[in-house]
């Protein structure tokens, strides 16, 4: 194995992990506020579609990413309205969101399945990008890759270094108490849900704008669900999202390379690996925690809040 291939693999892993980082960090904030949104897959696919469509028509990557972000927020707002104002069951509503998102994007995107677009190009930072090894590994990614890692830091900073972050965590742990001392439970939760939608939208757009220049109705292939698994894996700690996402990115890339190396296992069995790995990792996390309850789970996760006062 030569160095060029190794660098390619490492870059490939980073690229593969970015959509998961975006989607998972958004969902992490949502769950920290006490809301379980199972619609991540649906919000991602809508982001993937809108990003692609806008890039196709305008050729402006900034507008494309913005469209994906707004699209994710728009569809998340349905979830926010139903669960926060009409007090619907979050599991059922999240599932409906995923089913609706998949159907909606397949329907709207039906005319785009034959098209291709210009991928968003990577940055080239003078001098830094030209350093051997370090340059390609650290300084020549797509801007969105840096944004993903920055968002993880931002969410961590918000949750643990700001007053609003403290309030949001308090709401996630005990919405009745937070409400009693005057915090706006619904307002915080709606904001969190919209943020989660925006992040899932960008994560989806990364698939169609950076990874492959095409649009397909099944292109998220369960990444939204894997992102949900990542949040559990992270024990709701932002930086662990990066670790988990790189692990999944690694499995995805190794699996692709293994198929290229003509290993005598059917491609289907190799393609199962990311999904099986999700399960195995969740199990191993539990084995490590033994029978202790996971104390970082937001206490009010998935519970309906309604105040009569």
């Amino acid at each position: 194995m030569n160095e060029g291939l190794l660098i390619d693999i490492i870059i490939g892993i980073s690229i593969a992990s970015v959509p998961l980082i975006f989607a998972a960090i958004g969902e992490l904030l949502v769950e920290r506020s006490g809301v379980l949104n199972l619609g991540v897959e649906g919000m991602m696919i809508v982001g993937a579609l809108l990003g692609f469509v806008v890039q196709f028509h305008t050729g402006n990557p900034f507008l494309a990413v913005l469209a994906a972000l707004l699209g994710g927020m728009a569809i998340a707002s349905i979830f926010a309205f139903l669960t926060q104002f009409l007090l619907t069951n979050q599991v059922a509503t999240g599932l409906a969101l995923t089913l609706f998102g998949l159907g909606f994007s397949a329907f709207v995107g039906r005319g785009y399945t034959e098209e291709t677009i210009q991928l968003i190009t990577s940055v080239h930072i003078p001098i830094l990008s030209d350093i051997p090894y370090v340059g390609p590994l650290l300084f020549s990614y797509n801007p969105l890759v840096y944004l993903a890692f920055f968002m993880v830091y931002l969410v961590w900073w918000f949750l643990f270094k700001t007053k609003q972050g403290l309030v949001l965590r308090a709401i996630g742990d005990n919405h009745d108490a937070a409400h009693a001392i005057g915090h706006k439970v619904i307002r915080y939760r709606v904001m969190a849900i919209l943020f989660g939608g925006a992040m899932a939208g960008i994560g989806g757009a990364f698939l169609s704008l950076v990874q492959v220049p095409i649009w397909g109705e099944d292109m998220t292939a369960g990444r939204g669900w894997i992102a949900l698994g990542l949040v559990v894996f992270s024990s709701w700690q932002p930086f662990r999202i990066i670790f988990g996402a790189i692990l999944f990115g690694g499995i995805t890339i190794l699996q692709l390379h293994a198929q290229g190396f003509d290993i005598r296992i059917s491609a289907q069995y190799l393609s199962m690996l990311p999904y099986l790995a999700t399960i195995i990792i969740l199990v191993s996390l539990r084995m490590r925690l033994k029978n202790k309850t996971n104390r970082t789970v937001p206490n009010c996760l998935g519970r309906i809040f309604h105040s009569t006062t």
Binding site: L38, T88, V91, T93, L95, G222, G229, S266
Partner: protein, 355 residues
């Protein structure tokens, strides 16, 4: 300003009215969406093709029942689990594994005839689905791993496994390398109950199963147990109901039924194992279960409604060259509105001025 005041008792009128309201709102929204997207097509005729045409013709009607049967069977199992708060979201995977297991038995006895082949295949389908859901039950009870994620991940694995099987052991040896099994022998095909159509015995089984489920939930202690575990987990614990048992039963029942539905699909309309086996029934059945308010008899009706949108969606695809996803939009919206309208049952909506 609008406020929600909890009702002392659930409103009986609203239990009946809210589904109708949800249907009306869905129809209006679907109309508006189609009008804004489909520029050059008459929307009202699309609507006719979607919802009325399937009811006007005996062939379409039989197809509607063909599609309702698997939805009914899967949704029955899911509604039992959902009541208990056990979220088996991967019925699609159990359906596929059941289909593979049952078909494998049918193909093994390829040159044998006998009335016992179909029951044996059905049994294999049920066991396949139970085994697959059992993995989630094991991980949930032993390691507290979330069953939603496990069943979903296993669904992706199941679809890949189907593809591997059809390119490997179960491929038709004289099928020019197409990833399909042999056509099932007559003894391995489900009996047809409506001559000249594809309507098979599965529908009868589905109806019998929902009656059994209805009595089961009403009369059997397990019915009580799942009801209480879902609505009042603490009370269930005090009553000595075992959480783990509920998880196991819920997943085994829903998995087994999904597996049976998968086998029925392979040995019924398809007549062989093909990559087209997964039809999204496992996911759609979640909607069916909720529309039925998780009630076995409700499932009979809601599966017919959703099957109507399946048949209508196929007709729209043929007549107007629109994608099948039009069905999913409709189903997703229906579930949104249905969940939203249910608030009227538990709460009174009051308008009053802000002070």
């Amino acid at each position: 300003m609008i406020r929600l005041i909890p009702r002392v008792e659930n409103s009986t009128a609203m239990i009946l009215l809210s589904p109708l309201l949800a249907l009306t709102l869905t129809a209006i929204s679907a109309y508006l969406i189609f009008v804004s997207i489909l520029v050059d097509i008459e929307v009202s005729s699309v609507f006719y093709t979607l919802f009325v045409e399937p009811l006007t013709d005996s062939y379409y009607l039989s197809e509607l029942l063909v599609k309702a049967a698997p939805l009914m069977i899967i949704a029955l199992g899911l509604s039992i689990g959902f009541r208990a708060g056990v979220w088996n979201i991967g019925a699609e995977g159990q359906y596929v594994i059941g289909g593979i297991a049952g078909s494998a038995v049918g193909l093994y006895f390829y040159d044998v005839e006998g009335f016992w082949i179909i029951p044996l295949m059905a049994l294999a389908g049920i066991l396949g689905g139970m085994f697959y859901a059992g993995i989630a039950a094991f991980l949930k009870t032993r390691y507290q791993v979330n069953e939603i994620l496990v069943t979903l991940m296993l669904t992706y694995v199941a679809v890949l496994f189907l593809s591997a099987m059809l390119q490997g052991p179960l491929r038709n040896p004289s099928g020019f390398n197409f990833p399909e099994s042999r056509l099932f022998h007559d003894s391995a095909l489900l009996p047809i109950i409506w001559e000249g159509t594809r309507l098979h015995i599965g529908l009868v089984v589905a109806i019998i199963l929902s009656l059994i489920a209805w009595f089961g939930i009403k009369k059997h202690i397990f019915g009580m147990q799942i009801k209480i575990s879902g609505s009042a987990p603490r009370a269930a614990k005090f009553a000595g109901f075992n959480d783990n048992k509920t998880v196991w039963y819920s997943l085994l029942i829903s998995g087994g039924l999904a597996g049976l539905a998968g086998l029925f699909e392979a040995a019924g309309p398809a007549g062989q194992l093909t990559p087209g086996l997964p039809q999204f029934y496992g996911f759609t059945a979640i909607i069916v279960a909720f529309l039925a308010r998780l009630h076995p008899i409700g499932v009979l009706f809601s599966s017919l409604l959703i099957a109507l949108s399946y048949v209508g969606g196929e007709n729209v695809q043929i007549d107007y060259d629109l994608p099948k996803s039009i069905t999913q939009i409709f189903q997703g919206m229906l579930l949104f509105y249905f969940l939203a309208c249910d608030i009227l049952i538990k709460y009174k909506v009051v308008l009053f001025k802000t002070i």
